[in-house]
């Protein structure tokens, strides 16, 4: 079992509040990814769960037992650190054995667990080397191995891939996903990389400035971001956000007008928007299409076209200073300075009110 429940967690350093009223329920066997820009408090939250730090308020439960005041060692969790934090003066084998020796496990059992972890993670050939003699990817495996041998209730991973090069990161990410599937143990994974979050997570928690912005399955976050921050954070390239004015609003529809002749009617259930209100319209770059005529489209001027082969990333400007990025599935796109017409499909639009909260629902 590895169910972790956080209730009203606060953390402050002196007068500075790092975490505000965090409520989170992590199910058994779930891969939960905490994602957010640096300084959003995600690592602090992980340290609170680990027991390396104490919350100033709130309650942490593991499998229903209150562990808020329980020391890190007694929580039965294992952590993989961003810097791996392998003991440099010990061999890989000693690194793996250290935690087990500390709980006075029998030598034979320790050897069996190390052998099992080494087989699973392909680290058997260098069990007798020191961490200094390993490559980044090997260190990463050892760090995960050190967590695996503990046979913990849950794994806590603090940006475990951030020190690897791009190629290794992708392969290790896949291995982590496979490992999670095999162990079926709860994992809480911290990252600032939304691609890692999207690919690994059962559920994603988007955090900003010590607050949870949205919790949900990856595609739910992508398709229906709860607010402007999540909309901008999830998805690459970022969602385009354009300022619009509400022209008319009914119970189920909102008509907005924006720069460059933008005019759209968006479905909305019971909105508080009134004609004349400022709002923000969001559209993902991949949803934008090239149009042949100016009717029903937006006029834009290309500032840069990046041909990637299968697609072309077009940076454009609409009516003065509104930047727009479009990813077009074609190669014949006019280059710099040329005017083009772009279609923004209404059913793909996201509407946010002046407080930044989502209005439209599909």
């Amino acid at each position: 079992m590895g169910r972790i429940t956080l209730t009203d967690i606060d953390r402050a350093y002196g007068k500075i509040k790092i975490l505000h009223n965090i409520n989170l329920d992590v199910g058994d066997g779930e891969m939960l990814v905490l994602v957010g820009p640096s300084g959003c408090g995600k690592s602090t939250l992980l340290r609170l769960i680990a027991g390396l730090d104490r919350p100033t308020g709130g309650r942490i439960e593991i499998d229903g037992a209150d562990v808020t005041e329980v020391s890190a060692a007694r929580r039965g969790l294992a952590m993989v650190f961003q810097s791996y934090a392998l003991y440099p003066h010990m061999s890989v084998r000693q690194n793996l054995a250290f935690g087990l020796e500390n709980i006075r496990m029998a030598k034979a059992e320790i050897d069996a667990r190390i052998a099992e972890a080494a087989r699973m993670l392909d680290i058997a050939p260098y069990l007798d080397r020191r961490p200094g003699q390993l490559s980044g990817g090997q260190k990463q495996r050892v760090a995960i191995g050190r967590a695996v041998v503990r046979n913990p209730t849950a794994f806590l991973l603090d940006e475990p891939l951030s020190n690897l090069d791009a190629e290794l990161r992708i392969s290790t990410r896949a291995e982590l996903a496979a490992l999670h599937k095999r162990l079926a143990t709860t994992m809480i994974y911290v990252t600032h990389d939304q691609v890692e979050a999207m690919t690994l997570a059962d559920r994603i928690v988007v955090m900003r400035s010590g607050r949870i912005e949205q919790v949900g399955r990856p595609l739910d976050l992508y398709n229906a971001p709860a607010n402007l921050f999540v909309a901008g954070f999830i998805g690459a390239p970022r969602m385009n956000l354009l300022p619009v004015k509400v022209r008319s609003a009914s119970g189920t529809q909102v008509h907005v007008e924006g720069p460059g002749g933008l005019s759209a009617t968006i479905a909305a259930d019971g909105t508080a928007l009134r004609p004349g209100d400022e709002a923000t319209l969001g559209i993902r770059p991949h949803d934008i299409e090239l149009s042949d005529d100016s009717k029903g489209s937006v006029e834009a001027r290309v500032t840069l076209a990046e041909a990637l082969g299968p697609e072309t990333v077009v940076h454009a400007i609409i009516a003065g200073d509104n930047k727009l990025v479009a990813v077009l599935k074609r190669q014949d796109v006019q280059t710099q300075g040329q005017p083009i017409n772009l279609t923004l499909p209404t059913e793909r639009m996201h509407l946010f009110d002046c407080a930044g909260l989502r209005v439209a629902s599909r």
């Binding site: 340290r47 680990a50 027991g51 390396l52 020391s71 890190a72 060692a73 969790l77 294992a78 952590m79 650190f81 961003q82 810097s83 934090a85 392998l86 003991y87 440099p88 003066h89 250290f98 935690g99 500390n102 709980i103 050190r146 503990r150």
Partner: protein
Amino acid sequence: MSGVVSFLTRRRGGRFWHWTDIVSWLWLIGGLVVMFGPAIWLVGSSFKTPAQLAEFPPTILPYVSQQATVEGHDKPLTLYRVKLPDGSTKVLAELRRIGTVAQMVDPKAPNDIVKVNIASREPVREIGFATENYTEPFVHFDFLRYLRNSVFVTAMATLITLLTNSMAAFALSKYRFRGRDLTMLLIVGTLMVPLSVILVPLYSVVSAVGLLDSLWGVILPTVATPTGVFLLRQYMLTIPDELLDAARMDNASEWQIYWRIVLPLAAPALAVLAIFSVVWRWNDFLWPLVVLSRKELYTLQVGLNTYAGQLNVQWHYILAMTVVTMIPVVLVFVFLQRYITSGIAGTGLK
């Protein structure tokens, strides 16, 4: 060999001597003389006889006069190279000397006595070592006992210094608590108080706890060194906190974190402090002199002092024993010097 030659003759000016080449050679040779001159002179002089020590001008190397056994004389006679009136030179042995005239004899013809003015002769000398400077103290002077005391004081003091200082440094570098920086400041502040200032109160304390005239009285007051705490703390600050967190997740107690993680990782700094401590305690003179009054407890440095009497200083023994007392310190440096460089480089930078 050719590598050494090409290394030594390497010049900035390529084929020609640049002026900086000359200046650096002079500077380096000068430095060598300044650094090594006294040490070599000390070692050379430690093998000289008392008479030769008093000689002027002094020599670097020790010499002994050659002697020869001459028929009809029980003792060996000293040989001199004499310039005879006919202009030839000859090696003669001195029988006796009366004023400025010496009666001398040819060792091959022991019956012909020649009278020679002492100005026209000089002793035949060769490099020789007065090894009795070294052997005598071992026999007559309690050298071994003093050595044992010194080794005991140095070893115990160094061990306790490493242990207590590293514990203090661990607490001051890895835990956050109110007054931590103030404590550190106080500890470093004591660096500014020299021993001579606190000698009398320290003596009272040591006397009150009954450690006078005991080697522990020499050891204990010296083990807490601010330099050591500072050095180790600065080094331990560079050990990432994540390692300690990892150990905490691994069920390690705080003592285990100190003993199994922090201490092994601070090894370079510990080696540096060990070297310092050995040198300090080995060379300590004033404090042992104050605390110890029974002769059998003397450390080497205090023991050496007994050769310097009020009226008579036995330089030949002092020099020889100084060389002997230098050996352990030199050995410590030879074997641990790589730690000094790596350790100090590590302590200075993050």
